[in-house]
Symmetry: C2
DNA sequence: CCATTAATTCTACGACGTAGATTTTCGAAC
DNA sequence: GTTCGAAAATCTACGTCGTAGAATTAATGG
């Protein structure tokens, strides 16, 4: 009694007109769900195909290779970025842009590395996303070179912060770990004394907002 | 005539006392060289072993798995960070710290992703590296919470900037690409008008320094 | 001298990305 | 209608990867 649990073995051949048929969109949607739920390293062509109820090689008729899938996922995420910001002072617009970008990254922590990498490489999608930031800074009356410097600074900060926010046990548990230092082993109590003292004295709740405020303050002359 | 070019086939067994013998250090050094020269994705146990003139499985007696090698590489890079900064005003010390950290990342562009990830996850090595930055900010007379916010902001910016600096065709060629937009296809001329205008008007040479100055300026009250 | 342990090579397994051949269906030309 | 090329799917297979487990040899401690 072999209890054959394998699938009914679909036959090859182009699907009939009425039958669903695979789609680039369907593939990316399934892949994004898989990555969001189980992490990027569990994304393999075979698993993705089995999720779609399809042969692994079918995917290659809609996307050229695995790298294209991953970059397609980043594009998918980027396409969720609102291209228009609420009106307001230029500072408010910069804050709104930063929050929106940060929201994208936080919605997909398992893709943060790819998102910030793509942003850093200034892909076409990343350019489209940055435009509202430039517009807000331009409205501040800065000189052209200053707009560029400001935008770069903000983008770099936001990327770095997104990375940290998604890191397992990142800056969040830093204070706890520093506090637990001397109790464990007395000899490493002195490797980071300032950090330990400062983290014991003051707690920070909103690191992201604080960073944006520092940068905004630095843009005034 | 089989022209047997395969290696002389070393026999198994523990090496004699005088013979060299594999070392964690030797493995990491070879791996770092391999990664620096050919990129991280060409780092495989088999290639690394062949580089060392050794069987792939030998490596596992010194490092538990491939992930340990990569994180060992990051530790290797971090250990090059100078733990003492030249004296000076607190601003000068912050600048010096940022430059030193940036230098680490620029020296190993193929590892930048792992470096900033490790830094964002605040590994033990990353803590040791950050201490001088905290000390400099503490010397500025900021309140504890302000020191933390400032350090986080600077670390995030520096990480994001390192990522961008290592990205192939990152912010460097951005101006060229924006300038070449309307000539190619007239319909995408409007997707990023502010960016195009601003980049045409002003060129930025030292984005990193400019970012640090903006943040430093933002820390004054 | 003997037993343990350490360091190495050997063999093998399952998973991966994907090239190439095969099968089926669609859609347009005749 | 029939024919025929392209499109969309599956099937088979190759080379590579990380690494578990056994075999082999030398150092080391009793």
């Amino acid at each position: 009694m072999p209890t054959d649990v394998t699938k009914p073995a679909k036959r090859p051949g182009r699907p009939r007109r009425d039958q669903p048929g695979l789609t680039r969109q369907a593939i990316l949607t399934a892949a994004l769900a898989l990555v969001d739920e189980h992490g990027l390293d569990t994304l393999s062509m075979r698993r993705l195909a089995s999720e779609l109820g399809v042969d692994p090689m079918s995917i290659y008729h809609h996307l050229p290779n695995k790298a294209a899938i991953v970059s397609g996922l980043v594009g998918e995420v980027f396409s969720r970025m609102p291209l228009e910001l609420p009106a307001g002072t230029w500072q408010e617009r910069v804050r709104a842009w930063a929050e929106a970008y940060r929201g994208l990254a936080r919605a997909h922590p398992n893709l943060v590395l790819q998102i910030v990498t793509d942003s850093a490489a200034v892909s076409e999608a990343a350019i489209a996303i940055s435009e509202p930031l430039y517009a807000a800074l331009d409205a501040a009356g800065l000189a052209a070179a200053e707009v560029i410097a400001a935008a770069d600074t903000i983008v770099d900060f936001v990327n770095g912060n997104a990375l940290g926010a998604a890191a397992p046990g990142g800056p969040d548990q830093l204070a706890e770990r520093l506090a637990a230092r001397d109790t464990d082993d007395p000899d490493d109590a002195d490797t980071a004394p300032t950090m330990r003292r400062v983290h014991a004295a003051g707690r920070v709740t909103a690191g992201f907002d604080a960073g944006i405020e520092i940068i905004l303050r630095g843009l005034r002359r």
